[in-house]
Point group: C2
Chain length 440, copies 2
Amino acid sequence: MSHSALRINGQRLNSSLQSTCSSWGAITNSTGMRRLALSEEDRSVRDWLVRECKALGCRVKIDQMGNIFAIRDGASQDKLPIAMGSHLDTQPAGPRKISNTDWGIGGRYDGILGVQAALEVLRTLHENNIQTHCPVALIDWTNEEGARFPGAMMASGVWSTKSSTALEACHGIKDMEGTTMQKALEDTGYLGKTPCDYRENGLESYFELHIEQGPKLEATNNRVGVVTAVQGMKWYAMRVSGVEGHSGTTPMHQRSDALVTAARLIAAVSDTAQATSLGVATVGVITSDTQSQATIPSGVEFIIDIRCSTDAMVEDLCTAIFKRFDEIILNEKNNTSYSVLRTWGLPESIFHDDCISAVRSAAVAEVGPSKIMDMKSGAGHDAAWTSKVVRSSMIFVPSKDGISHNPAEYTTPEDCALGAQVLLQAVLRYDESIRNGINS
Amino acid sequence: MSHSALRINGQRLNSSLQSTCSSWGAITNSTGMRRLALSEEDRSVRDWLVRECKALGCRVKIDQMGNIFAIRDGASQDKLPIAMGSHLDTQPAGPRKISNTDWGIGGRYDGILGVQAALEVLRTLHENNIQTHCPVALIDWTNEEGARFPGAMMASGVWSTKSSTALEACHGIKDMEGTTMQKALEDTGYLGKTPCDYRENGLESYFELHIEQGPKLEATNNRVGVVTAVQGMKWYAMRVSGVEGHSGTTPMHQRSDALVTAARLIAAVSDTAQATSLGVATVGVITSDTQSQATIPSGVEFIIDIRCSTDAMVEDLCTAIFKRFDEIILNEKNNTSYSVLRTWGLPESIFHDDCISAVRSAAVAEVGPSKIMDMKSGAGHDAAWTSKVVRSSMIFVPSKDGISHNPAEYTTPEDCALGAQVLLQAVLRYDESIRNGINS
């Protein structure tokens, strides 16, 4: 059988995806998921994944951050694996004290589709006795959501970082109950010995299938997104400090109300992004020190999420926002102050032409040139990290109504299968080019 | 001994207050308190209070809201009790995920001083074998803070309300764990049979000693506040509704960001109160449906607390705030909406001249006319409710730096003793006037 005629089994893929979601992390009476990294549910689905991969004859390595590498050998003894991957953890259910929305609950496709599709590719190669030139690997990256241990794309970040301290720092990060990542890795049996370092456990290239999480493919009637880059991002954890006071006994002009100042800053984040047209800026998380309606808040914390097409635009938007903050604080008469508690960021990630070409030709072969589009990812992904150190690219399939991180997150079984088929063919085409010495 | 020479025992009062706080609800390494209504700590201090009052020969009645009435008989068989009271519950420790402040923790004086002082008055009457004309009662009102079961001054409100449904409604209110007030009353043994109704379990009058919780007495170098009224208050629980979205993939102009709109409304609450000079308005509580930094918030809820000297001013300030809200929503381009989920309120409470006079003359006798001042209370108190149906007034003593609902809440032992002494003499003066047929 010619490799280009090889087809994944869409029914098997979708059945595997849905049944494992139903078994491990499903929310009762909902298609929503709550599968926090290294939770009992995550441990169970990981154990299942390892069993499945071993049954296909793969070698399985667990690294120091719990990343699972399942490797199917190729003909060549000296090539690194062409990898496919994503993550099996999901968003949590957020605290919802008063309202009844389900927002903040994870869906069944974000991350999960990418790993399940990689498994389906391995199954297809195995049942057809395909011998690739390079090894082919499946990767499940730990804690991509950063929902349990703060810090999205954490473990792919450690693997891709030229830093001796990143691993140690991430092992020490605690969840809300105070459990460290290291303890959670130990407790689940996923604190592996393989170095979490691209230099010691390397890859030839990396392909990631993911749902778009936005409305563009659907709106333009395209079926596959050929992802060329991930936009640059920066986050700031902010604190506004005021002075506590009783709401009934403290005169307005004597107040130092942290929430009033925070409110002006939050409005300014949105206004500045709109006025400059540089990119998007969002405050998605806010917490107040007080939970008493009769108390003037003394401290409010919030996180600003800034994303633009290029790193320079990210810098310009950040500068404009903080300039506006300084003006607001100067004009405020309530004697509050603000500070930046912590910053994170992920520079703009430009994918590799060879990988992009493999995805594009695989997609064209499946649906023709009129149903695919090149696009940049607005969301961060593990591939954004891997692209810093190995050739990488991504495949997007449509998200119904552009919704994700929500039980309403949905991608049709046909699109899931299409994504897996494009993934298979992209890997095979890339492998073929290596065999022929085209990419090297 | 002439009644006017009678003196409370300040050392005993302060020792009783501090030791019971240390035993039931103290926070380790802090003077802060966490004694939520009908918690294990509250049950213990209530049991202690009942034992102490019975040891002084008082009859103890528990009503349907768990209010404790400890009654010391007087000479007259047909008079209702002159009551003294406040509450033994405190503010909770609020959730503090990131910051390290202690704000939101209760102190040792708010409410607690009023009940302890009432007990000290009973002890003083008992040890001096004083026979009053009217019975004298101590009252511990349940859930004044509204910190466990939402709704401040809840049980004094039920007692003072001409409504057959208030009791049932309050019994059904749930705490954060879903426990109803009725269940908590049953579990602690404080679901009494005495009707929680001023018409069936009435009082002759009501006096409440409380810390000021504001800076005025200290700033003016006065020692006693003669409280003539409690300002009018109104609360609105608000919800702003938008549409969820991914922070990286949703363009600014397509967003419906609930937090951005909420931020504009919160700033407007403060700005409107300052611009109109009608009173004070505060947003002390804010919650968002989402806890993900990568999510555009779809729902934000907050509580507005509005207080003015008169009910008419409260109405005017509310009208001005909501007019501004409508303008903001109209000008917003992000397609959000707001709704009022619930309102509460406590109309302006004007205390009774006879009770005010008794407090004033008792205070003048203790510290002279230059060390007392008439004042309105900015905070709500159980006396605000009782004043709707029986003659009532309050005594304020200084709060250090005006701080309360905080471990830094402090009133000197001397001022605590002074407050109790004024309470004793106000009750005796009022009793004397009843005996003499002056107040009737």
